[in-house]
């Protein structure tokens, strides 16, 4: 009896470690993980140089872990175990039933002041009126969904500090109030940190109020569902991969009268308003204008003034609503744009400039200082 028990114990142990040893050899390596949106470590090339610098062993160790059989399944299991043990979060995201909310860390007033001063510098450098908008994230707007006592910092505090600091601009856009008034609607994706097209619409109404424009009523749009299986960034990072996917909608149809020139490419590349090929891959949000680019210029096909937006990706789903009010909208992404922003604004004679960031990006992006260049 005792002996049988021992043999079984030894057998399960050896089968487990030996089984995965073999399994990891026979299962093919994946170059890219859509779930993690990153290239996975492949078997590193051996060289004595790499060995003695320690690079080979480190890469090899990453390789064993990143190419482990059923990796995505293990990750979900770990997330489940965390919840079972009583935790309400995993990898920096809170589990709120069918919604995943990313954590938020307030970096302190000094840091926020420094960042707001970059906006001030831009306003001083150009003659064009500069509008400034901060978009609070879902964690702020839907704070009531957070686990009890969750230690996510208030984004409202950051907003108040930043808006209290910015001066001599054309005005601060009150996105917060517009979103908060509709917090019970589907204005943020449940599995992604972005706002939905509906959320972007409410952001648009706030912007119209600041700029003195008349927003179109919601009923004027042709709402279309373009995807029902969008699994976003928080879905990936949290490991809560059983949360049901999101729906992506468009409100403004792409009738072909809009041309989006991607000026990052040489020669510039023309694209549509919605790049629907992104709907077939994991990163579906990028279908709005085709994702990130250093500089894009949109010919809206309408009459009106011109606008430059210093953007993060929240702006991409906002732009469709703005088309009817402007003849040209340019989008600058400071993560990739390396020329002088001031010169670009002055050279192109924009009628107005909008600096629009989500609060989490505003507090963390390392390239904001380029506003003052």
């Amino acid at each position: 009896m005792k002996k049988t028990c021992q043999i079984i114990a030894i057998a399960v142990f050896l089968l487990f470690i030996g089984g995965f040893f073999v399994l990891n050899i026979v299962t093919p390596d994946r170059e890219f993980s859509p779930q993690e949106n990153k290239y996975l470590q492949m078997l590193p090339d051996f060289s004595f140089k790499a060995l003695f610098s320690g690079k080979f062993t480190k890469d090899f160790e990453d390789y064993t872990t990143e190419q482990f059989a059923f990796r995505d399944g293990w990750i979900a299991m770990k997330a489940r175990c965390e919840l079972l043990s009583g935790k309400k979060e995993n990898n920096g995201s809170y589990y709120c039933g069918d919604t995943i909310l990313p954590d938020f860390d307030n970096p302190g007033q000094e840091e926020i002041d420094r960042r707001a001063d970059y906006v001030n510098a831009l306003a001083e450098n150009v003659d064009t009126p500069v509008y400034f908008g901060l978009i609070p994230g879902a964690t702020e707007i839907n704070a009531s969904l957070l686990p009890k006592n969750a230690p996510a910092d208030s984004q409202q505090t950051v907003l108040d500090w930043a808006y209290g600091r910015t001066r001599s601009t054309a005005g601060n856009v009150d996105v917060q109030t517009a979103l908060a008034a509709h917090r019970d609607e589907y204005i943020f994706y449940r599995t992604d940190h972005h706002w939905t097209s509906l959320g972007a619409y409410y952001g648009y109404t706030a912007l119209c109020e600041s700029m003195g424009l008349t927003p179109s009523p919601l009923s004027a749009y042709d709402r279309q569902t373009v995807s029902e299986d969008f699994c976003g960034t928080t879905w990936s990072s949290s490991g809560f991969t059983w949360v049901k996917p999101d729906t992506i909608e468009t409100f403004v149809p792409d009738d072909g009268s809009v041309t989006v020139m991607n000026l990052e490419k040489n020669p510039p590349q023309e694209g549509p308003l919605y790049v629907t090929s992104f709907l077939d891959v994991k990163d579906k949000y990028s279908m709005f204008l085709g994702g990130n680019s250093a500089l894009r210029s949109i010919d809206t096909g309408h009459d009106g003034p011109t606008l430059l937006i210093v953007r993060d990706s929240y702006a991409d789903s906002l732009v469709p609503f703005l088309l009817e009010h402007f003849s040209r909208i340019d989008l600058v992404d400071l993560r990739y744009y390396r020329d002088s922003l001031t010169r670009y604004i002055n050279d192109n004679g924009f009628d107005s400039v909008l600096v629009l960031y989500s609060v989490p990006n505003f507090t963390t992006d390392q390239n904001l200082f380029l506003l003052s260049m």
Partner: protein, 474 residues
């Protein structure tokens, strides 16, 4: 390489075990010697040379000492040229300690000397060779034992090298003395019993490290750098208890894995932990905590200094020396010295008069010992004395942040179950209860638990590199 990694569990270990049991017995030490070097060199391949140097140094010192002591017949009454043997021993000990000092403490001394105005000692910035504190102590005890006649000399280089670099205990103990496994190096008989014990022991250790230590460690991390205005009474205690559990499960888990792996390869190592948190006195705590280290200091420092045989003042001085060294052994920072002396204080106090009193007040003894140990870990883990004081003020009712904050409740709810399980697992009760189960049930439960711990640990290990790159996170 560390045991709690995918690389070790699913590549290194299967290969080591498979080849070990396929090759004939006389090749097994050589195989271990080779894979030990791979294991050791994995993190810093260059330091294999250091390891080889250490092996050669102590191997030849051992040979020389044995030769001077009448050709290695050893024994307490060996005649021969003792002065020469002693000279070799001294040179060897100095070289070993110099190596340890150079790699581990040079920068600390350089930093400290540079505090003196006008003095600038450049730092070396060397990365610490993994396990150097462990294997230096391990190897230098061998020539001492040969000199004292406590151990026979090992003439086979491979066998000696296998002992020094033996991967199960190489990087985190237990500190195995040569004399304790000398015979096993020459002749060992791997048995089914032993292997099964080894598997169980290893899996228990893996679970302790990956499932308990790593996770409660996160709770300490939440609070470690809290400012005086943030750190509440509850928060400080949560953090301190979390770290006390983390270090116990981390360290004893590592020892369990080492002992388990040793058994799988036919070795029997001595125990290193014995439920330290049930101690009634600090003296008892140190008999149950990191036993192999305390034993080492007792045999190679405390007793040679005269121990308790030269009167009370001398004994107190010896205790101070041993505990200053024990503190510094844990790390190259003066906070570890403070931590060592902190224990010297309580140990001396107990020796002078507290022990007798504590014998009659057992519950007080438990509470007092836990307070000393938990507070001690705060000194141990905080990198600055000022931050330690922030913690002590909050823990002992002089904090600025009050009793409890919402955040504390959140973490208490999230970690409560894990903390309770960890506290239970740090007591002998679980083992006792399990032993009382009917044998039939146990024989089913053991394999089931092994699979369960392996599966969940694997999930946590695979997840450790899970760091999605969200470039669209902008």
């Amino acid at each position: 390489m560390v045991f709690s990694s995918i690389l070790f569990l699913f590549i290194y270990l299967p290969i080591v075990l498979a080849v070990y049991y396929i090759v004939p017995g006389r090749w097994r030490n050589l195989w271990l010697f080779v894979v030990n070097l791979v294991f050791y060199g994995w993190g810093e391949p260059v330091y294999i040379l250091l390891m080889l140097f250490s092996i050669c140094l102590n191997y030849f010192s051992g040979l020389l000492i044995a030769r001077y002591l009448s050709a290695g017949t050893g024994g307490r009454h060996a005649q021969g040229d003792r002065p020469r043997a002693k000279a070799v021993l001294i040179v060897n000990t100095v070289l070993n300690l110099a190596m340890l000092f150079f790699f581990k403490y040079f920068d600390l001394v350089a930093d400290t000397l540079s505090l003196i105005p006008g003095v600038r000692v450049p730092k070396l910035g060397l990365s610490l060779p993994i396990g150097i504190s462990f294997y230096t102590f391990q190897t230098m005890s061998y020539p001492i034992d040969v000199y004292r006649g406590d151990s026979y000399v090992q003439k086979n280089f491979i066998k000696f090298g296998t002992f020094v670099a033996l991967f199960p205990q190489l990087i985190a103990g237990p500190i195995v003395r040569y004399k304790d496994i000398a015979r096993q190096l020459d002749e060992r008989h791997e048995t089914l019993d032993q292997f099964a014990d080894g598997v169980q022991r290893f899996v228990v250790g893996l679970g302790k490290k990956v499932l308990i230590a790593n996770n409660v460690g996160m709770l300490w991390d939440v609070y470690a750098n809290a400012t005086a205005s943030e750190l509440t009474f509850v928060g400080a205690w949560l953090a301190a208890i979390a770290f006390s559990l983390q270090i116990y499960f981390d360290f004893s888990g590592y020892s369990d894995m080492a002992i388990g792996l040793g058994k799988m390869l036919g070795f029997e190592f001595l125990e290193n932990f014995n439920y330290p948190y049930i101690s009634r006195t600090v003296t008892e705590f140190w008999r149950r905590w990191h036993i192999s280290l305390s034993t080492w200091f007792r045999d190679y420092v405390y007793i040679p200094l005269g121990g308790s045989r030269r009167g009370l003042p001398r004994q107190l001085l010896n205790l101070l020396i041993v505990w200053a060294l024990t503190g510094l052994w844990h790390g190259a920072s003066w906070t570890f010295l403070v931590w060592g002396l902190y224990y010297a204080f309580f140990l001396i106090l107990e020796k002078m008069f507290l022990l007798k009193w504590l014998d009659r007040h057992k519950i007080v003894g438990h509470v007092y010992t836990l307070l000393v140990a938990i507070s001690g870990w705060v000194i141990f883990q905080q990198t600055s004395v000022s931050q330690t004081l922030v913690f002590f003020r909050a823990m002992y009712g002089f904090g600025q942040a009050g009793f409890c904050a919402g955040q504390d409740l959140y973490y208490l709810a999230g970690f409560g179950l894990l903390l309770a399980a960890a506290i239970f697992a740090s007591l002998p009760a679980g083992k006792t209860l399990f032993a009382r189960l009917p044998e039939k049930l146990r024989s089913v439960a053991v394999p089931a638990l092994i699979v369960l711990v392996l599966v969940i640990s694997t999930a946590y290990l695979v997840d450790s590199t899970y760091n999605p790159f969200l470039y669209f996170r902008f």
